[in-house]
């Protein structure tokens, strides 16, 4: 249960999506005190695989995103890239923009996370032609 090491709510967040602490802090996807703890890399890989399913359907995309947003973390760019590509396969631009909005909201007070994510996702956004919420003007009320 070492979530405290990688929690956003911890004031010790130095870098961006999830802290890369000096010690190995496995992110427990489940709250077991026994058994194998899933590492950050395993967590990311699992989610990238989920969204990379070639014939992913709309329900799975929604379920995946809603679940991911329910976690106490901001997803890594590679997970978001896989999700955006899934939106492309489903011809759903609106959901792609919504995902960007959601991760910005998820970062909460850590305002440096979202620009980093956009910077990392810029190649994908350009390739797929997705406009960011800022470019559409919906980041302001």
């Amino acid at each position: 249960m070492f979530r405290s090491a990688v929690r956003l709510t911890c004031s010790g967040v130095r870098s961006l999506t999830r802290t890369r602490p000096q010690f190995t802090a496995p992110l427990a996807a489940r709250g077991y005190s026994h058994g194998k703890q899933e590492t950050d890399e395993e967590f990311d890989a699992r989610w990238v695989t989920y969204f990379n399913k070639p014939d992913i359907d709309a329900w799975e995309l929604r379920k995946g995103m809603n679940t991911l947003i329910g976690y106490d973390l901001v997803p890594e760019p590679k997970i978001l890239e896989a999700a955006l590509r899934a939106c492309r396969r489903l011809n759903d631009l609106a959901s792609a923009i919504r995902i960007l909005e959601a991760v910005k909201d998820k970062s909460g007070p850590h305002k440096e996370i979202y620009p980093y994510l956009i910077q990392e996702l810029r190649p994908t956004l350009d390739e797929l032609g997705i406009a960011t919420p800022e470019e559409l003007g919906i980041d302001k009320v």
Binding site: R62, R98, L128
Partner: protein
């Protein structure tokens, strides 16, 4: 409770109404807006649910040009202008995240209403004091209270820790 039973009855009647209606009638606006068919996936604006169960504008309620835009969405998104991308977003989602977070000024109305009614109550209380209540008993007059206090001192009321303990009997004054 009474309210929940009434709610359930209202919900049941609305469910029956929507079961009876054909799919052709579902889009009509002859019904009161309060009727929600809870047996189908609902749209909702929630910060923790970025992708709700259905799009805001249902597929069969799209206008002709919206349907054309949906067809264009199947091609490369680079061919979509910013306005078109925004239109697609608004078709699927009612409120953006900042709009969801906005909140309202309702609290000002509530607070104003509270103060207004408290003020009105104050007026009523004042009127009551002036026009309804009679005189205060004579035992509260200054003269009576003076005599009463002197009597209490003479009787040594609560001499240890209370009333008379505050009176200095040598100097004949309050301590």
């Amino acid at each position: 409770m009474l309210t929940s039973r009434a709610l359930i009855r209202g919900l049941q009647s609305s469910l029956w109404r929507s079961v009876c209606s054909t799919s052709a009638l579902q889009g009509s606006h002859s019904k009161v807006v309060d009727v929600i068919d809870c047996s189908v996936p609902q749209y909702n604006n929630r910060l923790d649910t970025p992708l709700p169960d259905r799009p805001f504008v249902k597929h069969d309620q799209l206008s002709a040009e919206q349907k054309k835009l949906k067809e264009k969405e199947k091609a490369s998104w680079k061919s979509l202008s910013k306005e078109e991308q925004l239109a697609l977003y608004r078709m699927t989602f009612e409120l953006t995240y900042p709009e969801m977070r906005k909140g309202s000024d309702e609290w000002k109305t509530v607070l104003g209403g509270v103060f207004f009614f408290m003020g009105f109550t104050g007026l009523l209380v004042w009127w009551q004091r002036v026009y309804v209540f009679g005189d205060v008993p004579h035992t509260l007059s200054d003269e009576w209270v003076e005599k009463q206090t002197q009597r209490m001192i003479d009787m040594r009321i609560n001499p240890v820790n209370g009333f008379a303990s505050q009176w200095d009997y040598e100097k004949k004054q309050w301590k």
